[in-house]
């Protein structure tokens, strides 16, 4: 059998044939070599943000970097489980966004220092809020990168509070209690501070603890929930508030239960990110104009509140496209103005120079109305403290957060299961166990 031998004519034809087929062959190869960046984000509460982020921003970034970007979304209640599954599998997304500092996953994250450093060339030093939210003081590494955060003001129905002779809304915890009592008596509408196990209750009750000059750790990271009588005062306050005007449903709300109750006018006020108000503006603008905002309330420690969201991105140490993920974050900061706009003023930038006219934008918000309601957020950086304040946001702090120790402590008091003293003691014991677990002996 004669072997197939190319003739001289065949050899001469080869370059021409190759030139004809080249575009098809190279295109297939290029597609095979195109990078992929897989991103997981939480479902943003402001309608319109996710379609922009996924459909526009991420795609455009991908085109610029010759990268196919995929975005998957999770509800806030699904995030921890989804992240845990990826960690267990050692595979998943390259970039995972959490609405709180994911310190518990610090062992599975790269050190994000170089991302912060790359950003600092263009936007200055890392603000303390982001530093204390994402730096692990024992490993000396940044377990996440915080690009933005969302303040958590008090939302209140202006007409109900005006009838209670408080048209500007409550500015102190004492007036809150007096006002909700009156509104409950007059209209049967209770107070809407969340007590159920969820993001909203964690934020609300943490803010109350800080307002009462207490918290579960001190500046050195020692457990301190039971060392100050102010915890007892805070527990007594919330119990009294509950007895005066609290909704029993508040103990059983699911995710965003307080938002739904507020939008349905079933409660007179609540603490939340402004996604609540933006939702109201989209669904019922005439009602939304009647919801106003206030900074956190004045308590013995002053005016302090927790952030509703600390937008923290993690590049897993098992990510396949670490370089792309890091570049995505650096570029995201350059686009903080778009993030602020598309989130409808919900995502405040970590680097303030990226939205230098933030206060003017709040003042001129088209839905601000005669009260210029969004202007109330102009000082949010002054009154917002990072989770873990006054210490760092360590893994043990976030496990306390993730396991709802604080909401459970308050709930046990308002339901009468425990006295404030016993509840504080029980919480302290539980928190100490968590802290001991994470800390080297």
């Amino acid at each position: 059998m004669k072997a197939l031998q190319p003739s001289r004519r065949d050899l001469l034809r080869l370059p021409a044939a190759a030139a004809t087929l080249a575009p098809f062959v190279l295109s297939r190869q290029a597609r095979a070599q195109q990078k992929t960046l897989k991103i997981a984000v939480w479902t943003h509460p402001v309608a319109g943000y996710d379609p922009w982020f996924e459909g526009v921003y991420a795609n455009q970034w991908g085109e610029r970097h010759d990268t196919r970007v995929t975005v998957d979304r999770f509800g806030s209640e699904q995030i921890s489980a989804a992240a845990s599954a990826e960690v267990k599998a050692g595979d998943g997304h390259d970039l995972f966004m959490f609405p709180w500092p994911p310190a518990v996953f610090h062992q599975h994250a790269i050190d994000h220092r170089e991302v912060y450093e790359a950003v600092s060339y263009r936007h200055g030093n890392l603000p303390e809020f982001a530093h204390k939210s994402t730096f692990h003081p024992r490993t000396k590494q940044y377990f996440a990168f915080a690009d933005s955060w969302t303040p958590a003001p008090l939302h209140f129905w202006q007409d109900l509070w005006a009838e209670a002779n408080t048209p500007l809304g409550p500015s102190t915890y004492d007036t809150l209690r007096a006002g909700v009592r009156k509104i409950r008596l007059a209209h049967g509408v209770p107070c809407g501070l969340s007590l159920a196990r969820g993001l909203e209750s964690n934020i609300t009750l943490q803010s109350i603890l800080w307002g009462f000059r207490t918290g579960f750790q001190d500046v050195d990271g020692n457990v301190s929930i039971n060392s100050s009588y102010m915890t007892i005062q805070a527990l007594k306050y919330v119990k009294a508030l509950y007895e005066d005007a609290k909704s029993p449903e508040a103990l059983a709300w699911g995710p965003a239960g307080n938002v739904q109750a507020m939008l349905a006018r079933k409660v007179s006020c609540t603490i939340n990110g402004i996604g609540l108000l933006r939702t109201a503006e989209a669904q019922a603008p005439e009602l939304a104009s009647n919801i106003l905002l206030r900074p956190p309330l004045l308590g013995p420690a002053g005016i302090l509140g927790a952030p509703y969201v600390t937008s923290c991105w993690v590049v897993w140490n098992f990510a396949r496209n670490k370089a792309g993920a890091k570049q995505f974050l650096v570029d995201l900061i350059d686009n903080s103005r778009m993030v602020f706009e598309k989130s409808q003023s919900s995502n405040f930038p970590t680097y303030q120079d990226t939205v230098p006219d933030l206060i003017n934008r709040l003042a001129k918000d088209p839905n601000g109305g005669p009260f210029r309601k969004y202007w109330e957020l102009k000082d949010a950086l002054h009154w917002t403290r990072h989770l873990g304040y006054p210490g760092f946001t360590t893994p043990e702090v976030m496990e306390v957060f993730d396991t709802f120790v604080i909401p459970k402590m308050f709930a046990s008091v308002v339901t009468g299961d425990l006295t404030p003293e016993d509840a504080a003691r029980a919480a302290e014991n539980q928190i100490k166990r968590i802290f001991d677990k994470w800390r080297p002996a």
Binding site: N165, T166, S171, T172, A178, K182, Y229, M230, Q233, G302
Partner: protein, 359 residues
């Protein structure tokens, strides 16, 4: 030598007081010439703000001008805190500040500065009590900020008497807004005769260094000099049959350090004493009144701190509104001494007078 000089200084001081004081009682507007012991007088004495300025800063003037708010210039020219022969305010055409009117404030309340030192160096001009949110128009100032939001950052700490005329000691405030109306001490008035000790004023809060957490500064943003009143008191763990050994020990230590109030409880001069000694141990507590007016007392004050009480900031005819013991002596002599040094010499008592001119 030092002792001799001190005695000499004291004698001259007393002589100066003896010369000046009778004049003060007769004609309150009589100026005092600067002398070798004085700082030069160039700071203006305090006047009330004019109506346009109040309006521009979101205050409902009509509400301010009612008897309950008791705005000086309209009400209370005599009577407490003025004693016999004193006036709380006078009409005076010497004002040159376009934001103020011709009502010069003489009633000057003293207190402790809130910078941690507890120094008795703060002096405020009484103008009006604000009883509920109707006092605010809801109209923002020229910068777009509500005065209500600004005031909420600046606390004046009031210490109402808890010991009643019959000697009983009450450990909870009367607050109708929270359903507490019996077996409680009154919050109806912060007039000085109702106080167990002098005030503490958070004039030091500033946004500049971020240390106070306040986005505003008292002297730069709170241009009405207004305050939210934070009332503080001793709980039943501190005083009475339920008092704990811990609180008893803390109170005893504070009395030794600061002296006793008219109630016999310690004088509290600093945030650290209130926050960390008392409240953290359950011995003390603080609160604000219902902004709707449901508790019946003053929620806010328009009583601007005198930015620099030296160099004439305290007028020669002003008088000190300080807490007095039953015998008429000031509870804290340092406070009234400082007031008198400012009034007569334009300086605090511990400040060095300018060098004598070389003859």
């Amino acid at each position: 030598m030092k002792t001799t000089l001190s005695i000499f200084t004291l004698l001259v001081l007393l002589l100066a007081l003896a010369v000046v004081l009778p004049g003060q009682l007769k004609a309150q507007a009589a100026p005092v010439a600067a002398n070798a012991f004085s700082f030069p007088h160039f700071n203006p004495a305090p006047f009330d703000f004019n109506d346009a300025f109040y309006t521009a800063n979101g205050i409902n003037v009509q509400q301010l001008d009612n008897p309950a708010d008791g705005r000086f210039g309209l009400f209370r020219q005599t009577g407490p805190p003025a004693r016999a022969g004193q006036l709380n305010w006078v009409f005076d055409r010497s004002n040159t500040d376009p934001d103020r009117n011709n009502v010069r404030i003489l009633a000057t309340t003293g207190g402790y500065i809130d910078d941690g030192t507890g120094a008795p160096t703060q002096f405020i001009s009484l103008i009006a009590f604000l009883l509920n949110q109707q006092i605010f128009t809801g109209v923002a100032d020229a910068r777009g900020i509500l005065m209500h939001d600004i005031i909420g950052n600046f606390e004046a700490y009031a210490a109402l008497k808890q010991r009643q005329a019959d000697g009983t000691f009450l450990t909870r405030p009367c607050r109708a807004s929270q359903g507490i109306t019996t077996n409680c001490f009154s919050v109806a008035s912060v007039a000085t005769p109702n106080l167990r000790q002098d005030w503490r004023f958070a004039t030091n809060r500033t946004a500049a260094d971020g240390s106070s957490g306040s986005p505003f500064g008292y002297f730069c943003d709170d241009i009405l000099g207004a305050w939210i009143i934070t009332y503080f008191y001793f709980t039943d763990q501190a005083v009475g049959p339920n008092a704990t050994a811990l609180c008893k020990g803390i109170l005893s230590g504070l009395v030794g350090k600061n002296g006793a109030s008219l109630d016999g409880t310690p004088i509290i001069k600093t945030a650290d004493e209130l926050n960390n000694d008392l409240e953290a141990n359950g011995c003390g507590a603080e609160f604000q009144l219902d902004e709707a007016g449901g508790d019946g007392g003053a929620v806010w004050l328009i009583c601007p701190a005198i930015p620099d009480p030296r160099n004439g900031g305290i007028a020669p005819d002003a008088f000190a509104d300080v807490v007095l013991k039953p015998n008429g002596a000031p509870l804290d002599p340092q406070l009234s001494n400082n007031f008198n040094c400012l009034k007569f010499f334009g300086r605090l008592c511990n400040e060095t007078p300018p060098p004598a001119p070389i003859l």
